[in-house]
């Protein structure tokens, strides 16, 4: 049931809305279909980011893919939490360290053990439009625990203009979602993994800009 709902929202409605009206373009999206289970790691500028990535997934993937979202923001009330989980299939975690209850890494790990995929934004918050912030180390801890699961670096640009933080009016702009090659974490060092991913995303961005500018 949830699969059908997500399929209707993202494959039927959102994908066409984003591509035709908003102007989102996908590059190398075929990379997604090569893997049954993956962690998408992307830079984050806008609420559009999650929508754009969810719309890129196929029917069989979308049921089993959870964007990881901040519980203190999207789950601040039971209603908000229910709506977020129903419409985006999100996995809500607590960002603050002193939060009671489940450890965020454990929650994500449990979901990976079940065979599900995750969408991670290691920058944490959307930040200033079109600027990348330092990555948080959660993704490194997670990949260290699951070295057999592929991660796919994703570079997104333009979303910060469509719907920047604090804005409510959506304005169409051409924007791009660039998928990188999937790979596996090579080391046991958390910081090294985080750094490697960060560099890969930056490299994707540089290569993309280079292909557009002389």
């Amino acid at each position: 049931m949830r699969g059908i709902l997500l399929f209707v929202i993202y494959q039927v409605f959102m994908r066409n809305f984003l591509r035709i009206l908003v102007g989102v373009k996908y590059i190398n999206v075929a990379e997604l279909n090569k893997h049954a289970q993956f962690i998408l790691v992307a830079n984050h500028n806008s609420h559009i980011d999650t929508m754009a990535l969810m719309s890129a997934l196929s029917y069989s993937q979308i049921k089993k893919t959870h964007p990881v979202a901040a519980g203190d923001y999207f789950g601040s009330s039971p209603l908000k939490s229910f709506i977020t989980r129903l419409f985006t299939n999100a996995l809500l975690i607590q960002r603050s360290k002193n939060a009671e209850g489940q450890n965020p890494i454990q929650a994500m790990s449990a979901s990976l053990v079940k065979g599900d995929s995750l969408i991670l934004f290691p920058e944490g918050s959307r930040g200033e439009p079109q600027k990348m912030q330092q990555f948080k180390k959660g993704v490194g801890l997670l990949l260290k625990k699951h070295p057999n699961i592929a991660y796919i670096p994703v570079y997104m640009t333009g979303m910060g203009r469509i719907l920047p933080k604090g804005e409510r009016l959506l304005i169409p702009f051409d924007s791009y979602v660039v998928f990188g090659e999937a790979s596996y974490s090579q080391t046991d060092d958390t910081e090294a993994i985080v750094k490697e991913i960060e560099e890969k995303i930056i490299a994707l961005g540089v290569a993309f800009q280079k292909s557009k500018f002389e």
């Binding site: 009016l169 304005i171 557009k212």
Partner: protein, 316 residues
């Protein structure tokens, strides 16, 4: 226009068959060329031909099936072109983001005016009404630093995309002229075909004979040889395609010549905008052609010029 009427309109049928024939010819040419000389780098030419197939199919279907589809198609095309130009333009401030919504709202209004044939409102809506309105909306935002730049850039973007392409749609709303069969559809096919084939001719002559660059700083590939060769070939072709228009022999020669020159102007104007930003192509939507703007750059000027020539010759 249903299919029976369509086949009855010999002029339109002929030009559509001609377009398909040309594409078949180009496809075969590059295929055989590639087989004979495997070393030749034809990837760009092949991609371009493939894109032409898609564009021609969409264009012909929109024209043949129902004129209303054409209005929507041109509306959507100008929407995507405006989105593209507003994305690449680095001259507009972040605070102007919200003002863009009014530009998008102007698109359906402009095409409604074209559909209803309200000529007087149609020609002033964007250059006058929107020009004033956008300036006022920018003032309301309250940020005056470099506001003059935004006041000039945003209306220009609207002019280059929405205003120009809506003239193609308006051709379909022109009342019939006595003794002339092909109608607005014929005029539309004439201007689009002449403009695009002029691009191809200038490109081809430039590749074959090009030596002396016209404006090397803006477009190193634009040469005097390409320009003159293109303009002459286009003018001759326009003479033979005059059955699509109500033009006399002399008129058809002059109009084709003017379109060929105007196409060049549009091309270099958009090229200059791209140079300013340091961009290679304006987008990635059409493979081998860059973005939408790269394909409609010449059309942005020729559509307006052609429309007003026709209007002044036959409707005033």
């Amino acid at each position: 226009m249903n299919l029976a009427q369509f086949s009855a309109n010999k002029e339109v049928t002929f030009i559509i068959l001609l377009i398909i024939g040309l594409l078949v010819f180009a496809t075969l040419l590059f295929f055989i060329w590639g087989k004979l000389k495997p070393k030749a780098n034809l990837i760009e030419l092949k991609l371009r031909t493939k894109s032409w197939w898609t564009m021609a199919t969409v264009f012909i279907l929109a024209i043949v099936i129902n004129p209303i589809i054409s209005y929507f198609a041109f509306g959507l095309l100008s929407f995507m072109a405006l989105r593209e130009i507003s994305t690449i333009s680095k001259n507009v401030r972040d605070v102007d983001r919200r003002v863009m919504i009014w530009c998008y709202i102007a698109i359906p209004i402009q095409f409604m005016l074209a559909y209803n044939g309200c000529f007087n409102l149609f020609v002033i809506f964007i250059p006058v009404v929107m020009f004033i309105f956008i300036s006022f909306m920018l003032v309301i935002r309250g940020e005056t630093t470099e506001i003059g730049r935004s006041m000039s850039v945003i209306p220009t973007q609207l002019m280059l995309t929405v205003f120009s392409l809506s003239h193609l749609a308006f051709l379909l709303s022109l009342p019939p002229i006595a003794g002339f069969n092909a109608g607005g559809r014929g005029l539309l096919l004439f201007v689009v075909f002449i403009t695009e084939i002029n691009d191809v001719f200038q490109f081809t002559w430039g590749k074959l004979l090009g030596r002396h660059a016209i404006i090397p700083k803006i477009s190193p590939n634009k040469t005097w040889e390409g320009f003159i060769g293109g303009v002459l070939t286009t003018t001759v072709l326009g003479y033979f395609l005059r059955f699509l228009t109500p033009f006399s022999e002399v008129e058809s020669l002059v109009v084709s010549f003017v379109i060929a020159c105007a196409g060049f102007v549009g091309d270099v104007v958009v090229s200059a905008v791209k140079r300013d930003i340091g961009l290679k192509d304006t987008g990635t939507l059409i493979p081998g052609h860059g973005g939408i703007l790269d394909r409609i750059d010449s059309l942005a000027i020729t559509s307006v010029v052609f429309f007003h020539i026709v209007y002044n010759l036959y409707y005033s």
